[in-house]
Amino acid sequence: MKIILFALLVFETQIININAAQSDVVVIVNKNFNYEVNSSFLSKIFLGREKEIPQGPIVQLLDLSEGDHIRDELYEKLVDKNPSEMKSHWSYLMFTGKGLPPKVVSSEDEMKRMVAESQNAIGYISSSKVDSSVKVLLQLK
């Protein structure tokens, strides 16, 4: 009986791991956001190099807190930088007076809520968290 329970536990753990691995990061915007933005431009937004969509609004960039694995995954996939490189990047911009880091939110749920409420907000969550309150701009696999 114990062996069966152990086997079930291992099986369940593996399913959870597979689900976590399969959950991609998606860049999300407000439902009413109607501008075309490619991944190259998005990477510049997430690096603080661009603030304004061409023929569009100034965006409000949202970020998860440091150490969040969704955050690490986004920057690895979108801008090819690890957490240390991102820390150096923002330290350079901030402490030289060249730029301000994005507003940090505490969770994916809060990020989704803020994006749903703000016309110009850009954020990111895991694809499993997406619902009808937001629009997916880019899926990072």
Binding site: S84, K87, S91, M94, F95, L100, P101
Partner: protein
């Protein structure tokens, strides 16, 4: 009084920002560093008492307070305290910025002068591999910050960003030598310049810059009495002297950072030309190569400073003796060979260990003496 008014204005602005519930951010950086040379003289501004280890040369702490006022306006301020600074707290910058369009932004207030490739990040150790920036290059820059205006233009070109910045204003500050023996008063009423930057945000950063400044400077130096009055073998006296008297300084540099694969290469060449009552041309350069091995990065570096031409002061009276101890003579040169290692403890903390081999042909007790220096530091940001 001027500083208090500006500080009060900044405080009021930041308070207003808090009241208006805009996004106010507080961040900081610091370095806990210790250095020890084997010389009884000052080497690269590292103290000369002993020679004992000193924390004063490299240790510092900075705070940054910034607020986004609206989509187009933000304010930033940064204050630093250093063990070897004249003032307990120095305002590195406090400015208001307008993002006029996606390409233009305009800043007004106090800003760090973008003189050399790394001038703006000179105090933020986490952003560069050495314990301190290459001395032979960065000692040439007398411009710490300026009060005025800066206009920056950026153009995205595929994966590359081209940036052009022009600035103008004035700068005034007091400084002291590492051992309190000399206090300098530097005033640059006319300062202007700019830089061109090309970057891909990942692997390559190239920058060329030019700054032109009218420089006035005086110093009160504490010198041995016997230097001026041979009949007085002991004691010391304060000697006022003129460092610069409306000299025109031109500061030119070109540099690059290449972070490709496991290799990090940083290099810069700089020239300072001072014209006026005397003429001095100084050239300097450095080359650093590092190799990433996980969180470790060993590196080797060489930097050099040479004075191609220096006519010296036209009237070397006793009052300028102190100046003579801080000016390079013709054909003087100095180089430092360094080796070290960085260890990234976490994204926010880096530990560094560095060995410097300093050699100079100068025999007049100028900037440094032949020496070996061992330094270690812990750099952090939050």
């Amino acid at each position: 009084m001027k500083k208090q008014i500006v500080a009060l204005a900044m405080l009021l602005m930041l308070s207003s920002a808090s009241v208006l519930a805009v996004d106010v951010q507080l961040h900081g950086f610091g370095t806990a560093g210790v250095a020890k040379s084997d010389s009884k003289f000052s080497v690269n501004d590292i103290g000369n008492e002993g020679p004992r280890p000193t924390f004063a040369r490299d240790s510092r702490f900075g705070l940054n307070v910034s607020a986004k006022l609206s989509d187009r306006w933000d304010i930033s301020s940064q204050f630093i305290t250093k063990a070897n600074s004249f003032e307990p707290i120095t305002a590195q910058f406090f400015f208001i910025r307008l993002h006029a369009s996606s390409q233009f932004n305009i800043r007004a207030g106090r800003m760090i002068a973008p003189t050399w490739l790394l001038s703006e990040q000179i105090e933020v150790g986490l952003t560069y591999p050495w314990v301190r920036l290459p001395y032979e290059v960065y000692i040439l820059n007398p411009l710490r910050f300026f009060d005025g205006l800066s206009v920056a233009w950026t153009q995205q070109m595929g994966d590359w960003s081209l940036g052009i910045e022009v600035m103008g204003g004035s700068s005034t500050y007091k400084d002291k030598s590492f051992d309190d023996s000399k206090i300098s008063y530097v005033n640059m009423p006319e300062t202007f310049g700019g830089n061109v930057t090309l970057s891909d945000d990942k692997h390559v950063l190239l920058r060329a810059s030019y700054v032109n400044a009218l420089i006035n400077g005086t110093a009160n130096a504490l010198v041995a009495a016997s230097t001026i009055y041979p009949s007085m073998p002991i004691g010391s006296i304060t000697v006022p002297s003129t460092l610069f008297n409306s000299e025109r300084g031109q500061l030119i540099s070109i540099g690059g950072k290449f972070d490709i694969g496991n290799f990090l290469v940083m290099t810069e060449a700089a020239r300072r030309i001072i014209t006026g009552n005397y003429l001095a041309v100084a050239n300097s350069a450095y080359l650093t190569v590092g190799y990433h091995v996980g969180e470790l990065m060993p590196f080797a570096s060489g930097s050099w400073l040479g004075n191609l031409l220096g006519t010296g002061w036209p009237d070397p009276d006793p009052a300028t003796i102190a100046t003579a101890t801080t000016s390079l003579s013709p054909l003087d040169n100095q180089y430092t060979l360094s080796g070290g290692v960085n260890y990234r403890v976490s994204p926010s903390v880096v530990w560094k260990l560095q060995y410097d081999y300093v050699r100079t042909n100068n025999t007049n007790a100028v900037m440094s003496k032949n020496a070996q220096v061992v330094s270690t530091s812990l750099d952090f940001v939050f």
